[in-house]
Symmetry: C2
Subunit: 682 residues, 2 copies
């Protein structure tokens, strides 16, 4: 179809068909100059190649001649071509071509896309996506999010295009596909945009009157009630509990008990009287009615029957450890168990998982070893291997954790269910996901946007590359999505994306302890000029800005540093300085309210050894915290091995500090900033 309008205004160009040179001139006069003339022929698909387009025609006479040129060209191009005439169109001069579209996706539902037009952009895949409906802010983010965004701000002295008009069209397309689910695809290509307004030149719409149904939804109340009973159960049953060392059903009971869980534990095993001194139930039917959650340690084949029995007990959920479902090709068996569980309003976590830790309850319902360093981060992984890496890293760094959760095949409970719980869980200050796919992108974005206002969400999205996507497909039942789409949708959700596993772990460790920055002015104070350069690079690469230090502040810093030190930013106090120089400059950096975050570059010297620095640094930060000043401070430590102890000392006092790297401290600060911006706090 050829659209006359895509919204409330009429952003399509004035135009008409001329069948003679005289008519072309007349039409051009009535439309207003400049105009563009284009051949209209069912036999000529590629108008430009046929010499069938003349742009920038600026007089009636020129229009007349252009008509004749085009017709002559067309006849030369293809002798027998049927020529219906020449289209005379208002020329949108100085304009930039963009594409605005919408598509339907089984995971995400209605997606809206924005990109520059042209083949080059196609090559560079410079397109942004969001889920519909998009807010005006989302639409602006899409326009700013393309790599070539500068094009639209006016390059080489050109007038900037009307980005608000583009945002309005994006929003209207989004409204259209949201209001009419049967619109499967929209393609406005090209949209010409210029200094004032934007014009859709061509539009294509595809309809589908049988859109796929959205998967079953629970209300937020239902979800939260179930999740609370799963994370904070009064009674836990272990189905397939075992007295035999090395069995999963033995490890789970042992970990629940040794982990210090204070609620009731009900082992179920038809052949045992007691396990680890706890009385055993012969069958699920024998269980009391107060079971909140059951941990399944039985083979896949036995699950369906056990679920039917458990359903009658009114439990809220199952921690489904066994494998042998969709991940090994048994898709039907998985579908069947979800059907049974849904019928009983039982929620399934898994199958194919290591279990669940919830530290405030001292609950370690897992076959891995217990973990007990309580803290602010909840970590969720789709893979057991990654779960073990989380556990090892946590133990090694003494990372404070609220929960560790395996979601495995995500047959039922997924990220949005967990977020409903973590949102209201006061023990959780930050949520980190290892994710190979999303089952319901729309639900995730909806709840993530809400949660992000309160606490950061970190996402490691595996399967970013074609190789990774292929590996994900062989690993789980999941169809890993196009990374560009995930990129846009995760951006829209407001989450902080981690580029790799170790990054996710480091973000999870640092974000809960870093205070929220109150502004964008970042200052580097360094004893090592070389670190200052690398830290500055890292600031730029992590989307932050070094503050331009005002003259009075510069002068104030200069009173503390040697005359050959460099004020400005980084503030290079130089390498041979005593503790007082670090102390004075850090204190000034914290006290001056124009500065919002500090990055410290320590250089190991005899004059200020690592632990002396660590102690003075922690002392100043603590002193200011007591006065109500709590800014993010991160530290890069360049020095001999003693700096490792200094890093540990600082971290334990709420100051993320790292030896041998200038990148990591800036990266975690950058992650905190990305969150603060997404939460609307900056």
């Amino acid at each position: 179809m050829h659209a006359r309008s895509v919204g409330h205004t009429d952003p399509v160009p004035g135009e008409g068909l001329a069948t003679s040179a005289a008519q072309a001139a007349e039409l051009a006069e009535s439309i207003g100059f400049p105009v563009v003339l284009k051949i209209v022929s069912p036999d000529i698909l590629h108008k430009t190649e046929a010499g069938g387009v003349i742009v920038d025609v600026r007089s009636a006479d020129a229009a007349r001649r252009a008509f004749e040129t085009i017709v002559a060209n067309a006849k030369t191009y293809q002798a027998g071509a049927r020529i219906q005439g020449v289209q005379v169109q208002q020329m949108v001069s100085g304009s930039q071509e963009v594409i605005i579209g919408s598509d339907s996706d089984p995971v995400f539902g209605k997606l809206v896309a924005f990109g520059l037009g042209g083949v080059l952009v196609e090559v560079l895949k410079d397109v942004t996506f969001r889920l519909a409906p998009v807010s005006r802010e989302d639409a602006r983010g899409m326009i700013e999010g393309i790599a070539a965004a500068e094009m639209l701000r006016g390059v080489r002295g050109a007038e900037p295009v009307d980005r608000e008009a583009l945002a309005a069209i994006i929003q209207r397309v989004s409204d259209l596909v949201s209001d009419f689910p049967e619109i499967a695809e929209v393609d406005l290509n090209p949209v010409l945009t210029h200094g004032d307004g934007a014009t859709a030149v061509d539009a294509r719409i595809v309809l589908d009157f049988n859109p796929p149904p959205r998967r079953q939804q629970f209300t937020q109340d239902e979800i939260l009630t179930s999740m609370r009973r799963i994370f904070q159960p009064k009674a836990v049953a272990v189905i397939g509990a075992s007295a035999e060392n090395g069995k999963i059903g033995n490890s789970v009971v042992k970990n629940i008990v040794n982990g210090g869980y204070q609620g009731k534990v009900y082992p179920v095993n038809p052949k045992a009287d007691q396990i680890l001194g706890i009385a055993c139930f012969k069958s699920i039917a024998d269980l009391p009615d107060d079971v909140d959650v059951a941990v399944f340690c039985i083979p896949a084949q036995a699950v369906a029957g056990a679920l039917e029995e458990l359903g009658k007990k009114g439990a809220a959920g199952v921690v489904m450890i066994p494998s042998g479902f969709a991940e090994t090709g048994n898709v039907d068996l998985q579908r069947q168990i979800v059907e049974i569980a849904t019928r009983h309003k039982l929620r399934i976590l898994g199958p194919n998982i290591y279990g669940i830790y919830y530290l405030p309850q001292r609950l370690c319902a897992t076959f891995c070893t217990p973990y007990d360093v309580k803290g602010g981060v909840a970590l969720v992984s789709q893979s057991g291997g990654i779960g073990m890496a989380i556990l090892g890293f946590a133990r090694c760094t003494k990372m404070g954790v609220s929960a560790i959760v395996g979601v495995g095949n995500k047959s039922d409970i997924d990220e949005d269910d967990l977020l409903a719980f973590f949102e209201q869980d006061e023990n959780t200050k930050c949520v980190a996901f290892h994710m190979e796919d999303l089952k319901d992108g729309k639900a995730f974005v909806e709840i993530a946007r809400r949660v992000v206002k309160k606490k950061p969400i970190v996402v490691l999205k595996a399967g970013r590359t074609p190789f990774g996507v292929k590996a994900a497909a062989s690993h789980t039942a999941a169809l890993a999505g196009n990374d560009r789409v995930y990129e846009g949708v995760l951006e829209q959700a407001g989450v902080v994306r981690a580029p790799g596993l170790l990054d996710m772990l480091e973000y999870a460790r640092a974000l809960p302890i870093l205070p929220v920055p109150k502004g964008e002015s970042v200052v580097i104070i360094t004893g090592a000029g070389g670190s200052g350069v690398l830290l500055s690079d890292a600031v730029a690469m992590n989307g932050m800005r070094l503050m331009e230090i005002p003259a009075d502040l510069d002068a104030a810093f200069r009173t503390f540093i040697p005359p050959f030190g460099a004020a400005g930013n980084p503030i290079d106090i130089t390498g041979g300085e005593p503790p007082a120089t670090y102390q004075n400059t850090i204190r000034l950096g914290l006290e001056d309210d124009r500065i919002h975050a500090l990055i410290l570059g320590y250089w190991h010297t005899i004059i200020t050894p690592p632990m002396v620095f660590a102690k003075l640094c922690a002392e100043v930060v603590e002193e200011l915290r007591e006065k109500g000043i709590d800014k993010p401070v991160v530290v890069s430590l360049a020095g001999d091995v003693e700096v490792e102890q200094a890093a540990e000392y600082l971290f334990a006092r709420g100051i993320p500090a790292y030896p041998y790297t200038t990148e990591r401290p800036v990266q975690v600060l950058g992650a905190k900033y990305r969150w603060a911006r997404a939460a609307g706090l900056l």
Copy 2:
């Protein structure tokens, strides 16, 4: 100027000026269709805006009409414009615009640039650089190196452009500016390229008959002789040696002695008889004549005098520790000491450095603490802070080191001098540089290309971003260069660029112990499907390819893994497998000569604990090494803290292994591949 030719062929389009419609038609006939017509008027700069360009004219009649249209448009655009005629030009149809140019740079000399034409590319800064002269291979690398390289390979079914013709033009421009140093700038813009050939449509050349002189050069023999005496001295003097604890002149003597240096040590101090039991000299004049290198621990003001005295002793070099030169603004003092040293053929390392370690000599001529884990990597840093980070990281990871060198202000000795020594030093298997700038890009590229054939060079280039460049400028006397230029030049040099400090350190640790891969076929064997996905992502992001496993090999792997495991690549052996499964699949991966490198993803389980895995893995690798099969193997360990011991065990046996990260092992393997490609080994 308007170029008629830029080389041996005549790649400019056929063209002529028409002053009447009839002449336009005639010219078009003689040139051949299609043609493009353009207004020629000294008053009209922007031809297209004036409606002064009509493309794709395909007949004499159309040319006639186009002439009239253009003249009419031009008159409308600007009433009084002087119109000299209309240029009729052969139309290079289906063509792509590119830019080829050359520029002169104080650090790099003649640079050649390549990029796509158009404003979008300008926005994306999609340009590659190389130093002239460029080889054909370099030129191809420039064309392949732009982000939009795919455009030139033919997009949307378009014919690929003639990249060899482009490479030829790049080479000819490079030859031109190499042969004629007075050509300061060349700008071929646009060059139109199509399926067959390439045509420079416009050219601009800027001349400069007073090009800056190249800095003083030593012959390779002179450089090597001096460097050998500096790194492998028979006698070391310490000027400003001190008996007082905490003084730099005391630390240096102490470190030389305690480090185990076996040559002669001559402390010089007018007031002391002996220092640490070694007889002291009252003055430099009193020193014996066999001094190879002197370590200066005296204030900046005393350096010039001391150099004059030392010059008479025939020493080869000075390790110039003191600061207070160019880095604090005393540019003249620095110039003066270099002048004195050059007069005496004394080479200066520094000033403003921590000193030099050369472990094969047990030489620790530095005020930092000694280091004694001998190994294959030489590390060079421009900053003292980074030097300390190198030392700490080395000690923490037991990294095997041949040398650690501070170059500080690089007043004289720089990277290319050091490379001359490390090239022929059998103790050094890999060289890693922390670099804020280059003093002589051409010299660096020349020697680096040669060294890279034998051993990898790693470069951490600080000052990549505008912030970093600014910080570098305040930190050293160096003018940090444009990162795009460094990117191209370092690529041309064949070095492996490290994105950050920790990356550089990890490359330095792993590269010397990794064997050279014999081909590009990489295979992942993993116990954790989740690690497999992340490892696959990392493979793609580090420029490697996962091998397509042939059917027979796939079948062979399948005999070892459970039926629900995934062969293909990654080979997912699944999580619950015994040691034998790891062992069999790793052995098969090593034995099959179609596979060139292995990435292992270990998942901590009770069935195969971390140290059991580490031992079996090291055993199989060792077994195959004894049979002459030595492939790169890297390991990602996902598990509880015991994996840290496993990582250490594996690393000590030549298998780079890392806990809690899927990125690092792939990154170091990728670095080895980048080097092997640059060295022409693949």
